[in-house]
């Protein structure tokens, strides 16, 4: 895993990005930068354009205007054929997991490795590592339909991290899950952030998940995330960005969002 400490290097840069569907603007002049090793949490109600940001970063959609740069390459100007190589360095966790339902867990997780013709021994080892990371080693031969919703999300995380991506994109990984399973998923995201220093964009509408990420660190000895006392001088590497009707209305850290004067954000926080 890449653990180099180049935290000022931008990983994802959006510059004045806009996109419309059927003449309705869904994102308007969105600009932000995600630095190496950082996690940026995108908030917003349903339809605010959060998922769109991830799809644009992956090049699955193209903006009408503006520039998107990912890992130093201008995604918004690349051909689909050139994007495939870049996407192999990015991990994406889809909202509904998007596991291949005709493949078992092992084949789902190893999909990218097989595409890259990695030797079988290494595939077996890396799949085992990835499934151990999400604590699902026992599910290798099961099919997605045989897994619970939470397990499917964890397999999707394993599939995203198996090839050691430089950046991870999480699309509402806790949506529709019970609080216990949600906490398990958030713990995995914290672990990925703190142990492997992977940069990440996290889309969610659940404030508690984002605040958990901003206030917890992964303790390798205890093998679980622990609450960091507020007085501790500690960089959570987690920032927040709030979208409202496709427009950025806030960008800052946990304390800034908690003390925001914006009526919309205050209302959002209290709900």
């Amino acid at each position: 895993m890449d653990q180099s400490n180049n935290s000022h290097e931008p990983v994802i840069v959006f510059e004045d990005v806009s996109i419309a569907f059927d003449e309705k603007k869904v994102l308007s002049n969105l600009s932000f930068t995600l630095l190496h090793g950082q996690t940026k949490v995108l908030f917003g109600v349903a339809g605010a354009g959060k998922t769109l940001v991830l799809k644009l970063a992956l090049g699955l959609l193209r903006p009408d205007s503006g520039r998107i740069t990912v890992l130093g390459q201008e995604v918004s100007a690349m051909k689909e054929q050139d994007l495939f190589a870049l996407r192999r360095r990015i991990g994406m966790v889809f909202q509904e997991s998007a596991l291949f339902d005709s493949l078992n867990v092992e084949d789902n997780v190893s999909f990218r490795l097989r595409e890259e013709h990695v030797p079988q021994d290494e595939i077996t080892r890396r799949v085992a590592d990835a499934l151990r990371f999400v604590e699902l080693e026992h599910t290798v031969k099961l099919f997605p339909a045989e897994l619970s919703g939470g397990m499917r999300r964890r397999v999707a995380i394993a599939r995203a991290i198996v090839s050691d991506p430089k950046v991870l994109l999480y699309d509402s990984p806790t949506a529709g899950l019970d609080p216990v399973t949600s906490t398990t998923i958030v713990e995995l995201l914290v672990k990925q952030r703190d142990v492997f220093q992977t940069s990440a964009l996290l889309v969610t509408h659940r404030l508690q998940d984002a605040f958990t990420m901003a206030t917890h660190a992964f303790d390798r000895k205890l093998n679980k995330m622990v609450l960091v006392p507020p007085e501790t001088d500690w960089d959570s590497k987690t920032s927040f960005l709030v979208l409202k009707d496709g427009v950025k209305i806030f960008e800052g850290d946990a304390s800034e969002i908690a003390n925001s004067d914006s009526e919309y954000i205050r209302e959002y926080l209290t709900q």
């Binding site: 799809k55 699955l60 994406m92 889809f94 998007a98 339902d101």
Partner: protein, 259 residues
């Protein structure tokens, strides 16, 4: 929601453009790596071996009924001995390719549309792109190659089986000489007939696979959308195949006219 004629026209032009791009890239992908040989063989098994029973059954009975019907007409002119020739020429030049094409369209174009459609509406296609794999290369091209090859093979089998069906009727019901039936059936076939009979499934296979994949990858709107895509794939593949049959026949008749 109301759409003007311009919107409908634009949508249709866009659909033709997207289909053309998919069809073109399915061929262009053959010449660039990665190539998915295992997926192509798996599809060949599903399409070819899987379609064999219906192709054999329909081919046999259509050949038999063709012999029965034509014998009735031929007998009026004292040409009952030409039954074998009529069955073989009709089947090889026209009915074999079209019948096999329709059977495979019913089975495989719908199968492709529903499989790829389900993947599309559950974001599996996007997931594949996100994992750095081109769905065109991984899903479309193997289906196009295997459908084209297997449809040619299935058509040849259908032709042979239908002649056998005709032979059964000729020998056991019309009391014709079996050797005479087979010799007239074989001898009447020229290079032009066989060429026509092999070019058609080649084109039909391409139409079936690209239409099936196109409707699957264009599916929107959940399970209802997948159902719609499946039906449209069957209808479009069959209609386009039959229409193209007329043009191919006309074109090939210039090169291989009837003797």
């Amino acid at each position: 929601m109301q759409f003007s004629l311009t919107d409908i026209a634009k949508r249709n032009v866009l659909a033709v453009q997207e289909y053309s791009l998919l069809a073109w890239s399915s061929v262009a992908n053959i010449f660039t790596s990665p190539r998915y040989v295992a997926d192509t063989l798996q599809q060949a098994d599903i399409i070819g071996v899987g379609s064999l029973p219906i192709v054999v059954l329909t081919g046999f009975f259509l050949g038999a009924v063709l012999a029965l019907q034509s014998a009735n007409s031929l007998a009026r002119f004292g040409g009952l001995s030409f039954t074998g020739q009529l069955v073989s020429l009709s089947m090889v030049r026209e009915i074999g390719p079209v019948l096999t094409g329709l059977m495979v369209a019913g089975r495989s174009a719908t199968g492709m549309a529903s499989e790829l459609g389900s993947m599309q509406v559950t974001e599996q296609i996007d997931a594949m792109r996100a994992l750095g794999t081109d769905p065109g290369k991984k899903l479309v091209t193997p289906r196009v190659i295997s459908t084209v090859i297997m449809l040619v093979v299935l058509t040849v089998i259908s032709d042979l089986v239908s002649m056998a069906g005709g032979a059964v009727v000729a020998v056991f019901m019309l009391r014709l000489d079996g050797n005479q039936y087979w010799s007239t059936a074989w001898q009447s076939l020229g290079v032009g007939d066989i060429t026509m009979g092999l070019i058609k499934p080649f084109v039909f296979g391409f139409i079936i696979a690209t239409i099936g994949c196109y409707y699957g990858l264009s599916a929107r709107g959940g399970t209802q959308g997948v159902g719609r895509a499946t039906t449209q794939a069957m209808v479009a593949a069959s209609v386009i195949m039959v229409i193209s049959d007329l043009f191919i026949t006309q074109l090939l008749l210039n090169f291989f006219p009837f003797k």
